[in-house]
Symmetry: C2
Subunit: 360 residues, 2 copies
Amino acid sequence: MRHISAHDIEAIALGASVYGTGGGGDPYVGKLIARNLMQRHGDVALIDIDALADDALVVSVALVGAPAVAIEKFPSTQQMVNALGAMEKFLNRRATAVMCAEAGGINSTIPFAVASQTGLPLLDADLMGRAFPEIQMTLATLHGIAATPMALSDDKGNSVVMQTTTNLYTERFARSLANDMGGGACVALYPMTGAQARVATIPGSLSMLQRAGDVLLRARRDNDDPVARLIELIGGKPLFTGKVTDVQRVTAGGWTRGTASLSAFDDALGARCQVRFQNEFLLAEIDERAVATTPDLIALLDVETGEPVTTELLRYGLRVTLVVFPCDPQWRTPEGIALAGPRYFGYDADYLPMSLEERR
Amino acid sequence: MRHISAHDIEAIALGASVYGTGGGGDPYVGKLIARNLMQRHGDVALIDIDALADDALVVSVALVGAPAVAIEKFPSTQQMVNALGAMEKFLNRRATAVMCAEAGGINSTIPFAVASQTGLPLLDADLMGRAFPEIQMTLATLHGIAATPMALSDDKGNSVVMQTTTNLYTERFARSLANDMGGGACVALYPMTGAQARVATIPGSLSMLQRAGDVLLRARRDNDDPVARLIELIGGKPLFTGKVTDVQRVTAGGWTRGTASLSAFDDALGARCQVRFQNEFLLAEIDERAVATTPDLIALLDVETGEPVTTELLRYGLRVTLVVFPCDPQWRTPEGIALAGPRYFGYDADYLPMSLEERR
């Protein structure tokens, strides 16, 4: 166990932006919320997964909805605590610890705010090892663990608790409700025992976010190359460097969907790159050939600062490097690829695993 | 208290079709479900509102969704009992009695099935004194009573419990969920005490449905005029008699919406009538002038049999009499008209109360 202070949130949010792979919401918002609450309510105890009793109750807390909504509509503290409270009331039991549903984006910092506010410890783990746009896309689903009972709460004081027979129904109902709740909702979901958490989560993932953020911050401070240092740390592979020349983006159905087009700086090469997204970057193509696909992690990093670019902040003229990082091995199984591979999202492409030998 | 047998359901369903004013679902389906269950599980005790203790717990049970869906997708018994069970679990208390949310349509017979299956008494009352398409359109709302906690259950075993700050949010969330649940859901809602039920319901309304059905059945048997006998009983006013010449109808967003056009038999008169609906008939116009509006009850009755025509069974060539019946006086207050008057539904017309002096 170690204490995370408001000061540490800077690096964690930056690392969360890398693992957010363009989605999961703007970590800047999550950073502001978490830092503000931790300054008021104090540090968060980040606990190791082995510290949990087998019968502990771990609950994941998150925001659900189109990331674009959170930019102008911040979730309130009360709303976040309401979702956890509705879940606890339904289970008639208090949570032992809270957890991040995803390591990436706003949902990696919001749980720090909940932990600080409630005094509960936060588990150094998550359900994905990255960010994904849909609720059922977790290692928990691969291990047969239900996302429900799941509680949703909005900014008006409304709350909903659902129990579903599959995590795909959970996603469907929650997406509609998040839409009805003004585009986004605070949720508590995937309640599980300590024993379950030990098999269905990626341990140490919040510490990994912090290390990724630290390496970027240090490289900037030292006038070093942030993108290169990050790739060294995580083991990624740069695929393309160029300028954003076009962004097609729609916020609809509870998602931010679209395509970013990049052109190489050296126009003589004529290379064109397209990155397709649904909240997260899911498929990268160079000259119309797939070069990286979900469930591997696809990130666009500012060439100067290494700052990850989110899908809702993409704009013409950004100079970026496209990088792919390997996903957790559990995502590379046939079940993992069926749950979160490119075909699930409607792309006509097979999963193209990043070769682990190519890791820098 | 009196016992209602499977045999009595015939008249109640027919009366429910009159008060359903075209909506509330095909009572034929509700009749089959209720009769089948009552033949297996026995009679239902229909209790008077005065028989309730002040602290009794009364729960309304109903189907929510586009009526057209229930024609081919019958709700299962288990689904109906699941919704009540989810509500009882949430309240941590068993219901004392069940109630009909509306007097009209399928939702006036489904609760008989639930009562028979669970052995709970059914209250001889309802929340509207007619059928309305939206959840917040109840006397309970006029009396400040919440529709939540409300439970929804579907045919897959999924269930949802919501707590909202206004009954309009309840409607919004439930409509989306009913859509996601395949177009319709079984719900338990408006939990209230016996004391609340005495002010926020229309007492004796199920008995009224039975009397309306009985008068139609008797008139048919006696080769009498069913429409005339029904109007005598309830106190209605015939406005137009003619043939259905066109039906525009869309099942979308959890509703069946559209317009029926009628022409007088005597074409020389050239009279044209249009009846607009959202699940229920809400506005009748003759030669483009409003002649009857919600919250008054607008029914289309077969000229021969007095059989009410539902909005989803409307078709070219039906010969019908358009009849208006006065609504409960509570609906005629400014608050009642704001909640369920024509302008709420987007029609550019003021409420045109049927004069009570015109009652036949």
